[in-house]
Amino acid sequence: MKLAEVIERLGLEVLVPGDLERRVRWGFCSDLLSDVLAHAQEGDLWITHQRHLNVVAVAKLKGVAGVVCVRGLHPSQEVLAKARKEGVTVLASAEDAFEVAGKLYGLLSP
Protein backbone atom coordinates (compact mmCIF):
# COMPACT_ATOMS: atom_id res chain seq x y z
CA MET A 1 0.00 0.00 0.00
CA LYS A 2 1.28 3.45 -0.81
CA LEU A 3 2.44 5.57 2.10
CA ALA A 4 0.05 8.37 1.16
CA GLU A 5 -2.86 5.98 1.40
CA VAL A 6 -1.69 4.59 4.74
CA ILE A 7 -1.45 8.13 6.04
CA GLU A 8 -4.97 8.86 4.99
CA ARG A 9 -6.48 5.60 6.22
CA LEU A 10 -4.82 5.89 9.63
CA GLY A 11 -5.39 9.61 9.99
CA LEU A 12 -1.70 10.33 10.53
CA GLU A 13 -0.36 13.86 10.67
CA VAL A 14 2.51 14.63 8.29
CA LEU A 15 5.29 16.49 10.08
CA VAL A 16 7.91 16.06 7.37
CA PRO A 17 6.87 14.78 3.94
CA GLY A 18 9.52 12.62 2.29
CA ASP A 19 8.58 10.27 -0.50
CA LEU A 20 4.86 9.79 0.09
CA GLU A 21 4.41 7.67 -3.02
CA ARG A 22 6.61 4.83 -1.85
CA ARG A 23 5.19 1.48 -0.89
CA VAL A 24 4.87 0.44 2.76
CA ARG A 25 6.07 -3.15 3.01
CA TRP A 26 5.21 -3.89 6.66
CA GLY A 27 5.46 -2.28 10.08
CA PHE A 28 8.09 -2.24 12.78
CA CYS A 29 7.58 -1.17 16.40
CA SER A 30 10.60 -0.48 18.52
CA ASP A 31 12.18 2.16 20.73
CA LEU A 32 15.49 0.32 20.94
CA LEU A 33 17.73 1.54 18.15
CA SER A 34 19.87 -1.59 18.24
CA ASP A 35 16.77 -3.67 17.51
CA VAL A 36 15.78 -1.42 14.64
CA LEU A 37 19.27 -1.65 13.19
CA ALA A 38 19.23 -5.42 13.51
CA HIS A 39 15.71 -6.25 12.37
CA ALA A 40 13.86 -3.46 10.59
CA GLN A 41 13.57 -3.84 6.83
CA GLU A 42 13.52 -1.39 3.96
CA GLY A 43 9.99 -0.16 3.39
CA ASP A 44 8.84 -0.81 6.94
CA LEU A 45 6.83 1.93 8.61
CA TRP A 46 8.65 2.50 11.89
CA ILE A 47 6.42 3.16 14.89
CA THR A 48 8.27 4.56 17.89
CA HIS A 49 8.24 6.78 21.01
CA GLN A 50 11.84 7.86 20.43
CA ARG A 51 12.19 11.38 19.11
CA HIS A 52 15.87 12.25 19.13
CA LEU A 53 18.35 12.94 16.35
CA ASN A 54 19.60 9.35 16.09
CA VAL A 55 16.13 8.31 14.97
CA VAL A 56 16.60 10.19 11.68
CA ALA A 57 20.01 8.62 11.08
CA VAL A 58 18.74 5.11 11.75
CA ALA A 59 15.60 5.68 9.66
CA LYS A 60 17.72 6.82 6.74
CA LEU A 61 20.18 3.97 7.11
CA LYS A 62 17.52 1.27 7.14
CA GLY A 63 15.50 2.84 4.36
CA VAL A 64 12.24 2.75 6.29
CA ALA A 65 9.16 4.12 4.58
CA GLY A 66 8.75 6.62 7.38
CA VAL A 67 8.73 7.19 11.12
CA VAL A 68 5.48 7.43 13.11
CA CYS A 69 5.73 9.30 16.40
CA VAL A 70 2.93 8.10 18.61
CA ARG A 71 0.88 9.50 21.43
CA GLY A 72 0.97 13.06 20.18
CA LEU A 73 4.65 13.36 21.05
CA HIS A 74 6.41 15.44 18.42
CA PRO A 75 10.17 15.63 17.84
CA SER A 76 11.90 18.97 18.23
CA GLN A 77 12.31 21.43 15.37
CA GLU A 78 15.97 20.45 15.17
CA VAL A 79 15.08 16.80 14.59
CA LEU A 80 12.40 17.68 12.04
CA ALA A 81 14.86 19.89 10.18
CA LYS A 82 17.32 17.03 9.97
CA ALA A 83 14.58 14.72 8.71
CA ARG A 84 13.68 17.26 6.05
CA LYS A 85 17.31 17.47 5.00
CA GLU A 86 17.69 13.69 4.83
CA GLY A 87 14.38 13.14 3.07
CA VAL A 88 12.98 11.05 5.92
CA THR A 89 9.19 11.13 6.24
CA VAL A 90 8.05 11.88 9.78
CA LEU A 91 4.44 11.29 10.74
CA ALA A 92 2.55 11.64 13.99
CA SER A 93 -0.47 10.09 15.65
CA ALA A 94 -2.35 10.96 18.79
CA GLU A 95 -2.95 7.25 19.35
CA ASP A 96 -0.88 4.65 21.20
CA ALA A 97 1.76 2.49 19.58
CA PHE A 98 -0.43 -0.54 20.22
CA GLU A 99 -3.38 1.00 18.41
CA VAL A 100 -1.41 2.38 15.44
CA ALA A 101 0.35 -0.96 15.00
CA GLY A 102 -2.94 -2.79 15.30
CA LYS A 103 -4.62 -0.70 12.63
CA LEU A 104 -1.63 -0.75 10.27
CA TYR A 105 -1.43 -4.51 10.59
CA GLY A 106 -5.09 -4.70 9.64
CA LEU A 107 -4.47 -2.54 6.58
CA LEU A 108 -1.44 -4.44 5.36
CA SER A 109 -2.44 -8.03 6.12
CA PRO A 110 -3.95 -10.02 3.29
Partner: protein, 157 residues
Protein backbone atom coordinates in the same frame (compact mmCIF):
# COMPACT_ATOMS: atom_id res chain seq x y z
CA UNK B 1 3.48 26.40 56.39
CA UNK B 2 0.77 24.51 58.26
CA UNK B 3 2.02 22.21 61.05
CA UNK B 4 2.44 18.66 59.77
CA UNK B 5 1.12 15.67 61.65
CA UNK B 6 3.59 13.40 63.33
CA UNK B 7 5.30 10.64 61.42
CA UNK B 8 3.61 7.26 61.64
CA UNK B 9 6.42 5.51 59.85
CA UNK B 10 9.89 6.42 58.72
CA UNK B 11 12.56 4.41 56.95
CA UNK B 12 15.81 5.19 55.19
CA UNK B 13 16.77 3.15 52.12
CA UNK B 14 20.26 3.31 50.65
CA UNK B 15 20.37 3.32 46.86
CA UNK B 16 23.42 2.00 45.09
CA UNK B 17 24.67 3.37 41.84
CA UNK B 18 23.92 0.15 40.02
CA UNK B 19 21.30 -1.05 37.64
CA UNK B 20 21.11 -4.52 39.12
CA UNK B 21 19.15 -3.61 42.21
CA UNK B 22 17.47 -0.48 40.92
CA UNK B 23 13.77 -0.64 41.58
CA UNK B 24 13.96 -2.76 44.73
CA UNK B 25 13.37 0.17 47.06
CA UNK B 26 10.24 1.18 45.15
CA UNK B 27 8.66 -2.21 45.40
CA UNK B 28 9.51 -2.34 49.08
CA UNK B 29 8.01 1.12 49.62
CA UNK B 30 4.80 0.01 47.93
CA UNK B 31 4.59 -3.05 50.13
CA UNK B 32 5.09 -0.96 53.24
CA UNK B 33 2.46 1.59 52.21
CA UNK B 34 -0.07 -1.12 51.43
CA UNK B 35 0.56 -2.82 54.75
CA UNK B 36 0.02 0.52 56.52
CA UNK B 37 -3.38 0.77 54.88
CA UNK B 38 -2.53 3.76 52.71
CA UNK B 39 -5.12 4.43 49.99
CA UNK B 40 -4.43 2.56 46.70
CA UNK B 41 -4.26 5.73 44.61
CA UNK B 42 -1.62 7.21 46.92
CA UNK B 43 0.30 3.94 46.86
CA UNK B 44 0.23 4.00 43.07
CA UNK B 45 1.51 7.57 42.82
CA UNK B 46 4.12 7.04 45.52
CA UNK B 47 5.34 3.95 43.70
CA UNK B 48 5.82 5.89 40.49
CA UNK B 49 7.55 8.82 42.20
CA UNK B 50 9.80 6.45 44.13
CA UNK B 51 10.64 4.38 41.08
CA UNK B 52 11.57 7.34 38.91
CA UNK B 53 13.64 8.87 41.71
CA UNK B 54 15.34 5.58 42.44
CA UNK B 55 16.19 4.98 38.80
CA UNK B 56 17.68 8.46 38.53
CA UNK B 57 19.94 7.87 41.51
CA UNK B 58 20.99 4.46 40.20
CA UNK B 59 21.56 5.56 36.61
CA UNK B 60 23.08 9.00 36.96
CA UNK B 61 24.67 9.44 40.37
CA UNK B 62 27.34 8.05 42.66
CA UNK B 63 24.62 6.65 44.88
CA UNK B 64 22.35 8.08 47.54
CA UNK B 65 19.32 7.35 49.60
CA UNK B 66 15.57 7.55 49.77
CA UNK B 67 13.68 8.41 52.94
CA UNK B 68 10.05 7.41 53.27
CA UNK B 69 7.92 9.24 55.82
CA UNK B 70 4.28 8.34 56.26
CA UNK B 71 1.99 10.69 58.16
CA UNK B 72 -1.76 10.75 58.76
CA UNK B 73 -2.32 13.19 55.98
CA UNK B 74 0.55 12.64 53.57
CA UNK B 75 3.33 10.45 52.26
CA UNK B 76 6.72 12.05 51.81
CA UNK B 77 9.60 10.76 49.76
CA UNK B 78 12.98 12.41 50.05
CA UNK B 79 15.74 11.62 47.61
CA UNK B 80 19.34 12.65 48.02
CA UNK B 81 22.52 11.69 46.22
CA UNK B 82 26.26 12.27 46.30
CA UNK B 83 26.59 13.89 42.92
CA UNK B 84 27.41 14.92 40.26
CA UNK B 85 24.59 17.41 40.66
CA UNK B 86 22.46 19.10 38.03
CA UNK B 87 23.56 22.35 36.47
CA UNK B 88 20.20 23.46 35.12
CA UNK B 89 17.15 22.22 37.03
CA UNK B 90 14.69 23.79 34.62
CA UNK B 91 16.12 21.69 31.82
CA UNK B 92 15.60 18.38 33.59
CA UNK B 93 12.04 19.33 34.43
CA UNK B 94 11.24 19.51 30.72
CA UNK B 95 9.61 16.39 29.31
CA UNK B 96 11.89 14.78 26.77
CA UNK B 97 15.17 16.21 28.06
CA UNK B 98 17.57 13.42 28.85
CA UNK B 99 21.24 13.00 29.62
CA UNK B 100 20.98 9.23 29.40
CA UNK B 101 23.98 7.59 27.75
CA UNK B 102 23.26 5.34 24.78
CA UNK B 103 23.66 2.16 26.79
CA UNK B 104 20.90 3.29 29.14
CA UNK B 105 18.62 4.15 26.24
CA UNK B 106 19.19 0.75 24.77
CA UNK B 107 17.95 -0.79 27.98
CA UNK B 108 14.74 1.15 27.79
CA UNK B 109 15.54 4.10 30.02
CA UNK B 110 16.33 7.72 29.37
CA UNK B 111 13.18 8.89 27.68
CA UNK B 112 13.56 12.09 29.65
CA UNK B 113 10.29 11.71 31.48
CA UNK B 114 11.56 10.91 34.98
CA UNK B 115 11.43 14.24 36.73
CA UNK B 116 8.33 15.54 34.95
CA UNK B 117 6.64 12.29 35.91
CA UNK B 118 7.68 12.65 39.56
CA UNK B 119 6.30 16.15 39.59
CA UNK B 120 3.08 15.15 37.88
CA UNK B 121 2.42 12.52 40.54
CA UNK B 122 3.24 14.71 43.54
CA UNK B 123 1.13 17.33 45.22
CA UNK B 124 4.23 19.22 46.31
CA UNK B 125 7.61 18.87 44.64
CA UNK B 126 10.83 20.64 45.53
CA UNK B 127 14.23 20.09 43.99
CA UNK B 128 17.66 21.51 44.82
CA UNK B 129 20.99 20.70 43.27
CA UNK B 130 24.57 21.83 43.24
CA UNK B 131 27.11 20.70 40.67
CA UNK B 132 29.90 18.79 42.34
CA UNK B 133 27.81 18.10 45.41
CA UNK B 134 24.52 16.41 44.61
CA UNK B 135 20.76 16.70 44.38
CA UNK B 136 17.92 16.69 46.90
CA UNK B 137 14.28 16.14 46.05
CA UNK B 138 11.24 16.24 48.32
CA UNK B 139 8.01 14.86 46.94
CA UNK B 140 4.78 15.04 48.93
CA UNK B 141 1.57 13.16 48.16
CA UNK B 142 -1.48 14.10 50.18
CA UNK B 143 -3.69 11.38 51.54
CA UNK B 144 -7.46 11.50 51.52
CA UNK B 145 -7.74 12.97 55.00
CA UNK B 146 -5.39 15.85 54.23
CA UNK B 147 -8.28 18.26 54.36
CA UNK B 148 -9.64 17.07 57.68
CA UNK B 149 -6.63 16.14 59.77
CA UNK B 150 -3.28 17.80 60.33
CA UNK B 151 -2.91 20.92 58.18
CA UNK B 152 -6.13 22.50 57.03
CA UNK B 153 -9.14 21.85 59.14
CA UNK B 154 -12.27 22.52 57.10
CA UNK B 155 -15.49 22.97 59.11
CA UNK B 156 -18.26 20.46 58.58
CA UNK B 157 -16.17 17.74 56.89
Amino acid sequence: MAPTTKALYKQVFPVKSDLESAGKVSTEVRRILRSLGVEPEVVRRAGIVCFEGEMNIALYTKGGRIILIVRDDRVELLFSDRGPGIADIDLVKQPGYSTAPDWARELGFGAGMGIPNMEANSDRFVMYSRVGVGTVIRATIFRRCHETCGGNRAPGT
